[in-house]
Symmetry: C2
Subunit: 253 residues, 2 copies
DNA sequence: CGCCGTATTGAAGTCTTTCAACGGACGTGG
DNA sequence: CCACGTCCGTTGAAAGACTTCAATACGGCG
């Protein structure tokens, strides 16, 4: 808060982060509507990686983290889930990741049997599921791009921007991003350390991009600059497509 | 439930690096069997990111790269495709990546319309497609883990090991990994630079793990060591799963 | 045989991590 | 209500890993 940093930022432009998970289509949501809600307290685990995949879930309220632990103890978070997101839609016999509640979470659960029955019978559900999976795949690719090429500042900005967009979509009024997860969670999600996340956050605050609002929220002051720093700008895309094309034309013979 | 879990770990360890794409189930393969083959020369592009997604493909022969270009020119390769792999299975209206032939490639193509018709009608195809998508998702998650946490040596070893496993599955006899892609491709896939890939390769050769076999292949001399270095070892998994469990038990109340 | 693109190697630089200490918030208990 | 302890987050300094820049070597193809 008081420390001022003299480091200048190297700002470059980068490409697009697609929205990670969209609200499940009405048709999918309806599957869960009649299921009873279940509650999980902060830190509680819905299922472990390796558990038999018996259920799929709809998050009603709260935030979850999707975790994978490596043999040597390193932890990776491959995603966060919020109200409206779906969890566990896969056709593998066992879960390939652990799902933990970050805060108090309410979910509805559907047995996989019931789900697959619906899937077989309903011509409405099926495309919705395909689309859901396609969206998840696109999000995964975006995350790969982030982890492959982006530096700490770009990663954090991308993350904050995505969260902001989600909150706005969900009807948020003020440009405030809630961060129920710890810095460690964010670090493990962005492939950084807790210290780097902290330092980068401070740097962004000093630049006037955001201001901390308590410990688990930030207010975005300059959304445009945030987007710039996220490197998701798309103004160059056409040129790149063109050069790419011509190079190909050239090669093609 | 915990006992269950431990059992699971002891008997069969999770594939830390899941095989990216398995050979398509016979049912999916059969969709393409009657399509004519098409050829693409090295460097030629099947489709661009952003193109309307009109077709899905089965790779008959050769190797492709899945590419995303960022606005500032940085390039990310999110995957390689080999004979037997499927390409373009998604339910988005436009492709979200570019597909380029690395060497001379033969494919069979199916119009998306035909594909979706089959999907709607065949009770055999549908689950195969779901499984295919789930496999791709698992591969994407593994790649995220790689990019999040692994260092250069672990990344390269993971990559080589996966390629080796694929070649062995495909009936390869000698422990030789063919690398039709350039070092730049590998670098862009692993989130490294060409120089780091080169140096790491040299280091592995010096350790006696592998030996170069021409410029576009390596012979694996010590597969066990390669697996060790890949960081996908699973000998500690049980312990970690246990600590994970007990921590949860502790938290759970 | 010689050229050009690709790969390797070296040295310097940069960014992130690691190690270490401090500070602040929250919850518990006095 | 305040004190205190603990956990989480912040900050600093040093070390490390990878990148960048630059030069050289290799190998396929004309």
């Amino acid at each position: 808060m008081e420390a001022d940093m003299l480091m200048e930022s190297t700002t470059r432009s980068r490409p697009a982060m697609a929205p990670s998970q969209v609200t499940p289509p009405a048709s999918l949501h309806s599957l869960f509507a009649r299921q009873p809600v279940e509650n999980f307290v902060s830190g509680q685990i819905l299922f472990f990686e390796g558990d038999e995949a018996k259920s799929i879930f709809e998050v009603v309220e709260g935030t979850l983290r999707i975790v994978r632990i490596l043999p040597d103890g390193r932890r990776v978070i491959t995603g966060f889930l919020h109200a409206g997101d779906l969890l566990g839609i896969s056709f593998k016999s066992h879960y390939i990741y652990t799902a933990e509640a970050i805060n108090n979470v309410t979910i509805r659960r559907l047995s996989r049997r019931a789900f697959e029955t619906e899937l077989a019978n309903s011509d409405e559900i099926r495309p919705a599921v395909f689309h859901q999976m396609s969206d998840e795949m696109a999000a995964a690719q975006d995350q790969m791009v982030l982890l492959s090429t982006k530096n700490a500042e770009e990663r954090l900005c991308s993350f904050l921007l995505k969260e902001l967009q989600r909150e706005m979509r969900a009807g948020g009024l003020a440009p405030i991003v809630k961060l129920p997860m710890t810095r460690l969670d964010i670090a493990d999600y962005l492939g950084l350390t807790i210290e780097t996340v902290s330092r980068t956050m401070t740097k962004l605050a000093n630049k006037g991009v955001l201001t901390p609002s308590g410990r688990h929220a930030v207010e975005i002051l300059r959304r445009g600059m945030l987007a710039q720093l996220a490197g998701d700008g798309d103004e160059c895309e056409i040129e790149w497509r063109m050069t790419n094309t011509s190079r190909e034309e050239f090669r093609r013979h």
